[in-house]
Amino acid sequence: MTTLRTLRALALAGVVFAIAQGGAMAQTVELNLWSELSAPPESTVLNKVVEMFNAANPDVVVKHTAFENTAYETALRTAFAGGTPPDIAEVNAGSNAFQYAQSGQLLDLTDFVTPIEAKLRPGLETMYRYDGKSYGVLWGLKVGNILYYNPVMLEEQGVDPASLATWEGFMDASQTFLDAGIAPIAFGDRDQWTGNHYFNHILHGVLSKDEYDRIGLQTLDPSVTSDIKWNDEKPVRAWELFKAVADAGYFTSGYLSDDNDTAAGLFFSGRAPFYSTGSWGVGMAKGAGAENVALTLFPPVADSPEPTAIVTNSLLFTIPATTKDADAAKRFLEFLTSEEVQKLYVEENFDLSPYNYDMSSWSMDPMLRQVSDLLENAQNASPFLDMIEDVQCMQENVNEANVAVLTGDLSPQEAGDMHQECVDDLRASRNW
């Protein structure tokens, strides 16, 4: 009898427990998070962050699905087009995100983002602000305009690294190497984006931040106009400077046929003294086991209006308009911007933080610390041009045109004229 009573009590307790659990489950919201961070160390960090968030927020369960980099854009576009995007999505900041915003697929997060902007480094809001509204928060920061050099090779040729502070000094140093029979700049433009970045950094040095941002954004944002035209003196000068590097013979001999990895290999193996890529080059150098690598800001022209300004790239976490629970999603986004998460991200990646936290006590690779110093000293920051210009003009007039300028198929002036024509046609077609 006692046994029966005990069993009954246990059964009742089980039912009560199940109901209580059911009630608790009913209040828990599950949010799907999609990202292209499928490879370590970035994937490891994001997964850790998701675990931390879920532990601290028992009413929300964030489920992270990582896609392989090249498949991600297709998957995300298909999901958006089919009306089934995730609750939180990582997208490339700038033009990519603006496409979704333009189609009304993202939540307007202006009120939510405004207080977060207080801790954001200046100039970075260009990456998520479209038509006066904010559409997400940034996670991680890459600096694009970095020049890597081999200090031992420079010393052998008697080149002072301080001379690399200006474009003119960089060219003089390149001539010294060429005279010694060494093609100085490791460069491979087969995939076009490398030439895009070179032109991007030269142009960024020639223009002020306002001019640079506007000349790009005029194709994405109807509220932005540009006083500078692509066929004006300054952009054409940027093309001329780019072409002059090739004409002088400063690029390594496979500059049109090699890819970026081949060029990087030439630099890391000590066959060329200079190589330009973003802050991710620090990780590449470590991966290649390269010694004798130092870095400085990509040299701006001597008369640059803002010589310490940087070009940046970042990931944007956004909330699609169809999200199950916008408030819960916002909590996750806010968590991403917290000092705890940013510290974890910086310490476990070769990346920086877009937020103004005091990083002096954070453990960082010495070269990354150097990039961080460049960031601290920067007058301002702007995104890569391909993040703030519509792809319809960018692809043909920068990615393809940079090769055409190098081969001589287009003169610098023709490249500028073609680009401006595209911008004018695009704005006219949208009645801007």
Partner: protein
């Protein structure tokens, strides 16, 4: 089983394959066809605009379309001739079973099992003036001015280099088919011709080649359609460059649809490519059919 019952049974057997074919081929093809009459951003269905024939009209005014088409036709013509001539020659040699023929057969067939991406990367490295072997090797043989030549970065040599690699890659498959065809020719015909005093050349021209016509037709159609649809090798080796110099229609289509964000225009290019390949294949089949009747 009665005849009508058997037919129903056959229909039931075919149904899964038909459903699969409809969902994964016919429906996407129809959607692609309809998409070629639209403009949209590829992100939101709400942005789709019906533009009628505008994409096709624009295509005929687009100099890069004509450039890609010219490159494609040149590519198909050169690789087809090379593969057929070389393939037939090697197949005839291997069919005679000379000493070491099995080793050579294996060597010819190796590229078939390698992926285009691997082959592309391999040749890209070999042809590189900075890390490759081709320039220094030619220099060592006394060929002047090639030590730093950008084989894949020059307008003059980018497309020919892709042709060369493509022929190397595809030759084994053509040899395989042609050798199989040669082995189906009855020995009696050849021996009878020899008894009648026919030379090897006469036997090849008047017996072997006419009897090989059906296999040759298959090889020609396969090589032509595959060459028209070439994509991966170009993307890996030159990305269509330098500045469109090696761009073929499929690469042009990809660039427009995915890199420039014009899916409607991209599908219009795809439709044109489909029509071109269809026309060329039909003409080839018709010509070979007429030839067979004449024979």
């Amino acid at each position: 089983m009665r005849r009508s019952g058997r037919t129903k049974f056959h229909i039931w057997l075919l149904l899964p394959a038909f459903a699969f074919y409809t969902v994964f081929w016919i429906v996407p093809a129809v959607v692609a066809f309809l998409s070629s009459f639209t403009q949209w951003n590829g992100v939101s269905l709400a942005s789709i605009r019906w533009v009628g024939l505008a994409n096709y009209v624009e295509l005929f005014d687009d100099r890069w379309f004509w450039n890609a088409l010219r490159n494609n036709l040149l590519f198909v013509a050169v690789v087809l001739c090379a593969i057929i001539v070389l393939g037939m020659t090697y197949a005839l040699i291997l069919n005679a079973r000379p000493r070491g023929h099995s080793v050579f057969s294996t060597i010819f067939f190796i590229p078939i099992v390698l992926s285009s991406v691997v082959i592309g990367l391999l040749f890209t490295q070999m042809l590189s003036p900075t890390v490759g072997l081709v320039g220094p090797a030619l220099s060592a043989l006394g060929v002047p001015g090639v030590s730093e030549h950008q084989w894949l970065g020059s307008r003059d040599t980018a497309l020919p280099m892709i042709m060369l690699v493509y022929v190397w890659q595809q030759l084994g498959f053509a040899i395989l088919l042609l050798l199989a065809g040669l082995q189906t020719i009855p020995n009696d015909y050849i021996e009878a011709a020899r008894v009648d005093g026919a030379s090897a050349w006469n036997i090849t021209c008047h017996i072997t080649l006419p009897l090989m016509r059906p296999v040759l037709t298959v090889v020609i159609v396969l090589v032509t359609t595959n060459a028209f649809l070439l994509f991966d090798l170009v993307v890996v080796m030159t990305n269509g460059g330098p500045f469109h110099a090696s761009e073929v229609l499929s690469v042009f289509m990809y660039s427009e649809a995915f890199l420039k964000g014009n899916p409607g225009y991209g599908t219009a290019i795809a439709m044109m490519l489909f029509v071109i390949v269809l026309c060329v294949s039909v003409i080839q089949l018709a010509l070979s059919g007429r030839g067979q009747k004449a024979a």
